[in-house]
Amino acid sequence: MTDSKYFTTTKKGEIFELKAELNSDKKEKKKEAVKKVIASMTVGKDVSALFPDVVNCMQTDNLELKKLVYLYLMNYAKSQPDMAIMAVNTFVKDCEDPNPLIRALAVRTMGCIRVDKITEYLCEPLRKCLKDEDPYVRKTAAVCVAKLHDINAQLVEDQGFLDTLKDLISDSNPMVVANAVAALSEIAESHPNSNLLDLNPQTINKLLTALNECTEWGQIFILDCLANYTPRDDRESQSICERVTPRLSHANSAVVLSAVKVLMKFMEMLPKDLDYYGTLLKKLAPPLVTLLSAEPELQYVALRNINLIVQRRPEILKHEMKVFFVKYNDPIYVKLEKLDIMIRLASQANIAQVLAELKEYATEVDVDFVRKAVRAIGRCAIKVEQSAERCVSTLLDLIQTKVNYVVQEAIVVIKDIFRKYPNKYESVIATLCENLDSLDEPEARAAMIWIVGEYAERIDNADELLESFLEGFHDESTQVQLQLLTAIVKLFLKKPTETQELVQQVLSLATQDSDNPDLRDRGYIYWRLLSTDPVAAKEVVLAEKPLISEETDLIEPTLLEELICHIGTLASVYHKPPSAFVEGSRGVQHKRLPGSAGSGESVDSPDTVSAAGVSEAPPAVIPSQGDLLGDLLNLDLTPPTTSGPPPVPSSGMQMGAMDLLGGGLDSLMGDESEPPPIPLRTDTPQSPQLSHQSPSPPDYSPTELGGDLGGSPAMGAAFGAPPAVMPASFSAPVSGGLDDLFDLGGGVGMPMGAYSPPKTIWLPAMKAKGLEISGTFARRAGVIQMEMTLTNKAMSVMTDFAIQFNRNSFGLAPAGPLQVLTPLSPNQTIEVALPLSTVGPVMKMEPLSNLQVAVKNNIDVFYFSCQYPISMLFVEDGKMERQVFLATWKDIPNDNEAQFQIKDCHLNSDAASNKLQGSNVFTIAKRTVEGQDMLYQSMKLTNGIWVLAELRVQAGNPNYTISLKCRAPEVSQCVFQSYEAILKN
């Protein structure tokens, strides 16, 4: 007889039969019945009706039967909490059993029953088991604490289990240590700020000792926990690395990857000139390569991680290109990942081999893989300049195969090659044009159209080609439509005489016959440009394009750093931070790599900042496709969104495309709010004439125009000023759209609370190569924040933002890194709030509240200084006791008293007091003397300096008098300024 028969019962009335069997006197029959119940449960049948009967079988000395009943209990206890209580006695009894296996089984199962009443009874047995003499019971009890915490966190804290768990880290048995570490790590995740896993050199030492002795799984728990520790200095870092490296030879890939994580993280702290640093780098390569001989699923995990490692430290695997060559029978997911890494490792030294491989792959069967291989050839061309020619000829060979998707993919990448090496490979255009008819994918069509438009002057029949696309204009995707519009305008500017009709046709198709706001708006912009100032139009539309940079698809550096801290985990497989796929509070903390050696200390002069900035400047990134939307000049390689405004990135940033019209049309609409003298014309505009002899207006310098297209007021003025030709349909729909735009853009509300001055421009774009920073300071929930708006007014994408402060009077320093998670594309604006701490190095500044800041991005390092209102530094516990206040006031010498006048303030004393309280200025007492209110107030600065104030308010008199007393009289002036600012806002 075999057990598979239990899966085949499908009879009706089965439940009743089972009930009878469960209550049978014969032990064997009982056991059979319980097995049947479990089989039914497995396939998803509801057998909860049998609860009392199954629980009755629990009192047995047959271990197998007992385990089956427990399994049933774990599944159904929650739905029958009252009856589950029946089981408690047995559990409590089992926890006292002489057999450690039974004790452990009871405590393990009890933790899995998520019924409040049962958990109450669990506490006592659990406490005993945590101190059990048998390690097997202790290791099970350790995990049980995590279970209990999941059900009732408060209970675990109240019962003091956390401390017991911490004690287990010093247990003599390695497996108990490992499980305790696992449980504590999990509990700590849901208390981000607690210091549960109090990692200090002593505990680290214990963990490292246990690491050598425990099971493979325990080693993983310990290594993952170690990765959260930040060593005090490079020496500690090195000694931990030395003790972790032997793990790289473990047969278990997860142990290896977790060890790699610890090493990658701690390596950041090692000075690069250290011998050990080089040794470590060398040691990392072989185990990573070995991971590729594991089972395919693990290979996949390994490859996703290697992709990250190669981006962070390309030197590790630079000589290992061959191992990433695709094997004929690799699963497709392994093939695709290998391809990615091959491109990352491609260099001049190995490009010939890589290209030969890629060409081989381009003839395979899997469409996705072939496409990616073709794309990879293009990326090689862009990355390794010396190989560009060979890549182009390979692509041409592939186009000759006439395989439809290969041709299309090849054309898309050739377009990128043209952008990287303009005027170099135009000879291939003829071949490309031969394949015009076979292109049916929007991206390929758009790429082809771009090529035709860009090189219109070299293609004799460019007008015919573009005209052929125009026939089905409305059936094309937005991407193609936008590209066609731009291409025809380019063509017109290059060959004005023959193509007037064509340009009129496309403009009218785009503006009058289209519902797509992007298309329509761009149509109007071109139309206005062409009709008002053709020379400017030429300079805008045919402006020189910035070259695309070499590396593509790089992960944004801050995200990359976070992902490196998550090597081996799901986050590293998805290439997303845990917060993107984990619900609730778990894993939402952002992990960061520790600073490299030396940078943990304060930066004395801005020079050091720039040095650091230069040394680690990674290559620029081609923006992800969506960001190009705003690039009016060029490529519309957006995913095909057909109508409506472009998608707003979830991070709540404004997108370049919105700004494109936002700023410009703002002033345009402003003009129209007065009775607008706009001629209502529905016909097409007069064909613009190109007046080459007329000098271009001086304020149109080509570069500036190109860069400022998005939302610069100058542009808006240029649009609105001249009595332009404007079709009637213009104003209504656009203004509707505009409201939406502004709703999206301006929705950043300021919560009430501490006073925060309005944002001012700290760093004008002119001084910072296009980066504009405006900002303010605010104190929110006790945290000082520097709130900044970063705007990219340059033409290229900005990435790698970082910030640093010079020493200042109150030791302000960034409490975390500057969180700019995505690259800032041209015309994009982003709001950043940087929490500040006051534990940085102190140096007295003049004026006192002056702050010198260095901001770094991929382009350069910029410096500016700003002043913060001192009220930011008023702490929440700044209310002094009355008696203390009196004593202190007397105690401070009168020389330290400063008196100021606050003019034109129309608040009464209560309103003033309330307002000040919002900014942590506390009124201790109020006295009224002869119609004059005297407010006695205190405040405390972050560095512990107390400031005492006497504010005199006379009804009807808008001028207040304030006396300030402080042991450090220097701050008085600043405090007064804050008073004034708070009261007047």
């Binding site: 271990l63 039974i102 099971t215 799984w217 185990p287 590293s572």
Partner: protein, 436 residues
Amino acid sequence: MIGGLFIYNHKGEVLISRVYRDDIGRNAVDAFRVNVIHARQQVRSPVTNIARTSFFHVKRSNIWLAAVTKQNVNAAMVFEFLYKMCDVMTAYFGKISEENIKNNFVLIYELLDEILDFGYPQNSETGALKTFITQQGIKGQHQTKEEQSQITSQVTGQIGWRREGIKYRRNELFLDVLESVNLLMSPQGQVLSAHVSGRVVMKSYLSGMPECKFGMNDKIVIDKQGKGGASDEAGKSGKQSIAIDDCTFHQCVRLSKFDSERSISFIPPDGEYELMRYRTTKDIILPFRVIPLVREVGRTKLEVKVVIKSNFKPSLLAQKIEVRIPTPLNTSGVQVICMKGKAKYKASENAIVWKIKRMAGMKESQISAEIELLPTNDKKKWARPPISMNFEVPFAPSGLKVRYLKVFESKLNYSDHDVIKWVRYIGRSGIYETRC
């Protein structure tokens, strides 16, 4: 951590379902079936995210094993655990099949309860598990107190893979050096990539808690010794030593000792296990060389000639040689002539399969074929998959040699000399391909 573990048959019916975490519901079982097992397309990733729930799966013949989680778990660990789960099941009841799983579902639940606690993998060494999880299920009652504590200390202890008190009348051990040699060669005979991945598998039947030390002709060790010893010996042995790119060890090996002294010392599990894996890329002996010649004669005919040359000592014999020559999809007929062995065109596999039972070293053999093609208007060119080869040779293509395996057991009265030791080398083809 792992939130749940499901086992399905090929139809997507659940055979085993064990949920460890409250955030995983019954609907997860169905979500995986619908989105992965019943998905129309080929599986594109072993990790699938469905509605913020991540599914890790591996497949063994027709059986799907899926681990489910909603947290940011250690992905490598989850896969390692799934493989381990397969190993444990195989050790208990043989092949993983629907029938076997259904027959042993109670046992599987018991195992899952033991080796995964709240989603955390626990000791999963079969040696240890078998001492207290038995298919009879009643052993627990008859154990003495000493036995019980022995079990628990073994499960949690430092040497979780071996129990105490093992006794053999004859102390014996077998070492198998199993290598698979991988090659990708260009049509012109240029080696594009070649590597050997090897395993040292040990079967130990030793009494007590023997301390073992394993030595091989590892270049680093030999060079180190060479420095200390006579210089001419170093030069001599230097030639025979091999450079190991990387190696990994069974958890019984003391890794810190290997890291510091490069010596391989361990207390072995009882019975068969894999002591180490290694990889080499330098100075590989390629046992066979394949020389392809493909000529397209017009649009309807292909002429193929393939020569294989064996490249090892004439006294050795290679076995189970098989050369697989792919043919285009529109092949209508094939004529083959071969000097040795048998060759057949297999239409279902789109290949000519040429089999030779045995072949000595330094020999050469040849096959020629004429392939008739149906005229097609398919624009797509035939991709010309590489010619692949299978074989088995009685030596290690990496050049690895076992130098010693010493056994010390201080408590029992047998010494290294009393242990009977056997060593065997087998080199097999991995992916051994020549492009044509």
